[in-house]
Symmetry: C2
Subunit: 353 residues, 2 copies
Amino acid sequence: MKRIGRYTLELEQSPWIESYGSVCGKKEWEGPLGEQFDKSFLDTTLGESTWEKAESRLQTEAVEIALEKGGLDQKDIDCIFSGDLLNQCISSTFGLRGLNIPFLGQYGACSTMGQTLAMASVFAESGGADRAVAVTSSHFCSAERQFRFPLEYGGQRTPTAQWTVTGSGAAVVTSGKLSPKKRPSITDGPFRKRRITIRHITIGRMVDLGVTDMNNMGAAMAPAAAQTIADFLEDTGSKPQDYDLILTGDLGQVGTELLEKMLRETGIFIGENHQDCGLLIYDREKQDVHAGGSGCGCAGSVVCAKIFPALEQGTLHNVLFIPTGALMSPTSSQQGESIPSIAHLVHFVAESC
Amino acid sequence: MKRIGRYTLELEQSPWIESYGSVCGKKEWEGPLGEQFDKSFLDTTLGESTWEKAESRLQTEAVEIALEKGGLDQKDIDCIFSGDLLNQCISSTFGLRGLNIPFLGQYGACSTMGQTLAMASVFAESGGADRAVAVTSSHFCSAERQFRFPLEYGGQRTPTAQWTVTGSGAAVVTSGKLSPKKRPSITDGPFRKRRITIRHITIGRMVDLGVTDMNNMGAAMAPAAAQTIADFLEDTGSKPQDYDLILTGDLGQVGTELLEKMLRETGIFIGENHQDCGLLIYDREKQDVHAGGSGCGCAGSVVCAKIFPALEQGTLHNVLFIPTGALMSPTSSQQGESIPSIAHLVHFVAESC
């Protein structure tokens, strides 16, 4: 691993995504990506007695699927990086406590899938782990009552509001020295001809332009995405057109327009190959989600359900993944604070294998 | 970096603690370590309008002191690892948003100083950072109102309850390839003859033995400390007597007795060289803290105020630092959940330089 430029790490030992799993709730299953999730729960309680326990189960399920698809068990995993939006990250801790795997809780709000993938990649690159798991989750109902209103209140949502995704994504990041534990076979579906390697990571800096509207996260987070993308392009001497896809996490419609505008003003044009997980996961014309999807589980489940398969199957080759997070709490907002935000970048390249 | 045994990483490139800073509130200043903190605030509001903003300021102050003592500025730091107990880690984000340093939020409850030091060490070891900062904080008043009762309520505390430390500790972890930026001089106080290197880290696994009493964190966390210490000793083939000091984070009196008992039952005797930051920071006979100190800032401020100077000055040589965290939230406890806990270990060795 070496630093290039000011903010970017180049991974030289080819850590790669050995396996991954994604789960979602009913609304996500009804959206455009529905069939691509490994498992969906039409009862979003998942049979649990509280929303928080349901969210924990999402993480348990996503990790179990990722392990099963890779032919792995708990003993194959050296370390797990996980985080979520709930106070004290209880979805992660309660969802994963049964695994008996060394655990490092991460907090990057909705940027957490970028952060956990980055940390797992650094560990797999540097000898810290042969295999590390990156996982995150969110649940519409646990997020609504913690950050906004109890569901029973039936509060009106503003046009800039986003819909917290009920979902989770988990990925196994493996040292470049290791071969797949499970040999892929025809019966598994498309035969794996490509290996998803993590080539670069750029750790974000906090940005705070003074946005205070808790119902407009896209506007608060767009500047962080713009900064991290600009940092990465400068550090690597590359341009947006070098990538098939520049994928942000949950900027939604408002944040997406702002991001593209902010970058355009600095001479960076990403419109053609930019997509946002928050716009991919729902059909905004048919589903009442206002500005799009959000939550840790948005970027987490979309990257595992749609992007990793496309990289393995050869429809994508070279992808920048930049989930963004709004680093506020209801308390900080009630105290009149603005919303700092952050974005971490992970660069995936599909290699023939 | 290489894995030894099942759970331990051996750092081979000698990352080291280049500088550190500690701050505390009035009660901590009145305790046995009072003069050893770099800065204390007799007004625990720190002049801020809310307790949460006061806690954020603790982190800002600790990092600024660590940088100043090392002759460093923000541009010298490649990455900052920080976490705290508040919902969505707002002490960390709001305390550090002005620094413009790549930021990775960590959540390990009161084990966070171990986790941030471990992550900063991995980055400094592997080329991820020339210099990385590890920092954490807690504040009695912000913790009381979030986890227990509003201060104005005047709730009675149980004998097993601990007192959340108002304090913060920050350390700069530097690549073994770099020399000190600031040459120590006689006028700085004791001339630095020793370099504190990080030799090993052991990432903890969650343990949950079914404790549900939110007022007895020591009992919930002791099993995690016992497990991580046993893992480390087995992985390294060492015994407790090989170390000058085995320092837990905030087990307090109840947890300390339990830890020593649990280890004794497996043939590991740590009593003579075991201390706990939660018992060092207050005088339990004169200060009304019941079972001792707690909070992320307890281990963070004690290691920076007392242990790092002792390692540099030669009164300590070989130290195991094992802060513990209780991974619950008020919500999980109200839902009847037990308290999972975790402990991460960092092994410091003072080398002549």
